[in-house]
Subunit: 462 residues, 2 copies
């Protein structure tokens, strides 16, 4: 019995992008669709990451808009937005029409202005286009950016039975919305109250909704920023909250889940920033030159900072010439205190995130990190001093190296603890800037301490 | 009109921990409770972080168990667990009884074995103790660790009306559970089907639930690990899934929200690990010596690695003695390539998390990072080489320094891209170990390249 599965080499099964690429080159939409359908979302993401940007766009143009919408929903946002920019605005518009509004808005926000405008202009439904345009006008992490426009609202004159029967008639649509609450509005759209599904079910159908609604409902403003949203959802265990515009008209609903997702995205961003990845996440399927440029944008300023720090060494060439062994310990002292300082940076960023510390509480840092720095600096300084002293059989070398590491560790944890607070207060992202500032300072101070202490006892070292 | 608010200095209002500490020392439980109640959860967390571990425990012992349970729920887990260890097991048990089961289990899991056993032994309700003991026996990020025991299950013989009337009679309890689905089980507890609340509402009450339930429901095993849970919830938009034990009996429910929270916790852990913060998160309110020890546990091995790398410099003391200017460029070359390598580490960890790359795909990294490394290495090498050449007016110095940075950048991005994959395959946490491995290698190679190239053209440099 010979069938296609037999003929397929094991490597091919593990490299589905090969078959997708072949289907694409043959213009065989059905083969590509079948190929994609045979993969799990995770496998689809993996396969697409192995194709070039052009191939990804080709595949999305080849398959049905509904399939493409589903596929893009499984890809990282940056990649999906790149694909929508690559294909024709007409095709892109057809695909966005098949997506849940929030996903469409997220992708449009990632796209460049002209491309996203071209896409919106091609949407058949002008209302939909206006909605999306409005959604994308908000920053992604504000209430407006995180809300969904799909919610169930009924006029304040309705009866329980009216609401239940409309919900059941349109069960599919409301099911998609994942309705938890039903909102009550007056004739102008002003939010008046909230109905819990549970209360609706357990109340006689003839009763007016006004009688069982919870009045004066908590709501958030459409421009509320991430910090304040996090606080509101932190305070109470709301599943979702209505979002109102400046005049109090309900414009959407924001869920706890959306806020949590935004939190996770902020954490990911912090991690990438602290490692020097800027401008949104980098995927290896992105164009090479763009990746090079974005990484260099971070490395360029860094090389300048490195030069500034190393210039300290240049000022002490004579000392170094006299005691060449010091050159071995310069990078050790600066690296080790950099590590200690980075630990303090991470703890400060974490404590800022959790609200355990305010950006003005420097004294607390000085106190809490100072003692720790003294202790850890002492331990590490003794260790390195001992090694240096024994290696060159010179007590003074040990004292110079150990003393420099002790002092520089203390300084580095103090600085590492305070810099994120300072940056936060200056509205600069601490994850992005703390590392370079800290490294430059601890390098400079480390080099200075080793070489300056050595100069002081030069006769005993040489 | 003079009242308390007038008498309170502005600083005091901003430092609520002062009043809490005073209330504690006076043994005034009511003052402390009132003080806490006047604060938002965020302010409570901030205030508690400014008290010592002993004071935190004192406050928790002073107030009512229900208030304490609420307070601990707002604190970082590590801090709440420390407090429960500090107070008497009887008090701790009273407090845990007032908590939602999942939060209690999370805290017990953070506690040390003997302390958590002592607490469980003091619980009045033996069933509750067994439940908690079972929950804590699972790793925190498995289905068992993330599930809740509270769910609504009904026998397969029940009618829609039975289910609805029980739900409404016990509305408060089921409301707490945040019921989205109702499960149908046979007499032995085996999961047979799932009922959607919506379907229940819209079906005649006399119909047996077996007729409207969705049979053959998707479920996860109690020992399923985080990766597989993430995949399941990634695949389909389930709000929650039943958790079954080895024999198929339903033991809990896991929600999408729980999986998302676990994802965020993993990301935080990655960030802290990459900065050298081990053994759970560090808070500055923790005992000083514990903080010192945990940070040293990461710094200790690092100093050894640093010594290994710097030993390369010791081998080239003669070269360095001849061209002391090289000492200025040693830390620059090693630091800069370290930065480039760290960018590649972050991209690899991110791609592994998103499933865009498998831990065996080294060739893809070599290809994608190799070209980038060549380009960025060339740009950075030219820049630094130019500066070095002009500074000492020596073309060969520029070639040595620039060439070393070029080669070392290439090597570093290749290594930085591959190391996380290798560690992942070895089941070692990439966030924890990638940094030190990368830094050591790039330092060694950077020092070697600068000094070795310099030795080769020594006569032109000196």
């Amino acid at each position: 019995m010979s069938n296609e599965a037999d003929a397929m080499l094991p490597e091919e099964a593990e490299r589905p992008w090969v078959a997708l690429g072949e289907g694409l080159r043959a213009g065989d939409g059905i083969a590509v669709t079948d190929g994609l359908n045979s993969l799990s979302p995770e496998e689809r993401r993996h396969a697409m990451a192995h194709l070039t940007g052009e191939e990804q766009a080709g595949i999305v143009e080849l398959i049905q808009a509904a399939d493409a919408a589903q596929l893009l929903g499984h890809l990282p946002e940056a990649q999906a937005a790149d694909i929508l920019e690559e294909i024709s605005p007409e095709n892109a518009a057809d695909i966005v029409e098949e997506m849940p509004e929030e996903i469409g808005a997220d992708l449009l926000r990632e796209m460049h202005g002209p491309e996203s405008e071209a896409l919106l202009a091609e949407l058949d439904d002008a209302d939909e286009a206006d909605h999306l345009r409005e959604l994308t006008s908000y920053d992604w992490d504000t209430a407006g950016g995180l809300m969904t426009h799909s919610f169930a609202a009924f006029p304040d004159g309705a009866k329980v039975g009216d609401v239940l029967s409309e919900l059941s008639e349109d069960a599919e649509r409301y099911g998609d919305m994942d309705v938890q609450y039903v909102y009550v509005v007056d004739s102008a759209g002003y939010l008046k109250g909230v109905l819990r599904l549970r209360d609706l079910v357990l109340t006689p159908r003839s009763r007016p909704v006004e009688r069982i609604m919870l009045g004066d409902p908590v709501s958030v403003g459409v421009n509320d920023d991430f910090e304040s949203l996090r606080k509101v959802f932190d305070d109470k265990s709301y599943i979702g909250l209505p979002v109102v515009d400046e005049s109090g008209i309900i414009v959407g609903v924001i869920t706890r889940q959306a806020v949590r997702e935004a939190t996770a995205e902020h954490q990911t961003e912090d991690y990438l920033h602290s490692a020097g990845i800027l401008g949104g996440e980098e995927l290896r399927s992105m164009p090479m030159l763009a990746r090079c440029g974005r990484r260099l944008a971070w490395l360029g300023p860094n090389i300048v900072l490195n030069l500034v720090a190393a210039s300290v060494i240049a000022m002490y060439e004579d000392t170094l010439q006299a005691v060449i062994a010091l050159a071995v310990f310069l990078p050790i002292v600066s690296d080790m205190s950099g590590c200690s300082g980075n630990q303090a940076v991470a703890v400060s960023i974490r404590e800022l995130t959790l609200g355990l510390i305010r950006p003005t509480e420097y004294m607390r840092i000085v106190w809490k990190e100072g003692i720790l720095g003294m202790f850890n600096g002492f331990v590490l300084g003794c260790l390195l001093g001992l090694i240096a002293g024994i290696w060159k059989d010179n007590v003074y070398l040990g004292l110079v190296v150990g003393g420099a590491l002790f002092l520089n560790t203390m300084l580095s944890v103090l600085l590492g603890g305070c810099v994120p607070l300072f940056l936060k207060k200056m509205k600069v992202d601490p994850a992005l800037a703390s590392g370079p500032i800290l490294t430059t300072c601890t390098d400079m101070c480390g080099f200075f301490l080793v070489l300056n202490l050595a100069s002081a006892v030069l006769s005993k070292l040489a």
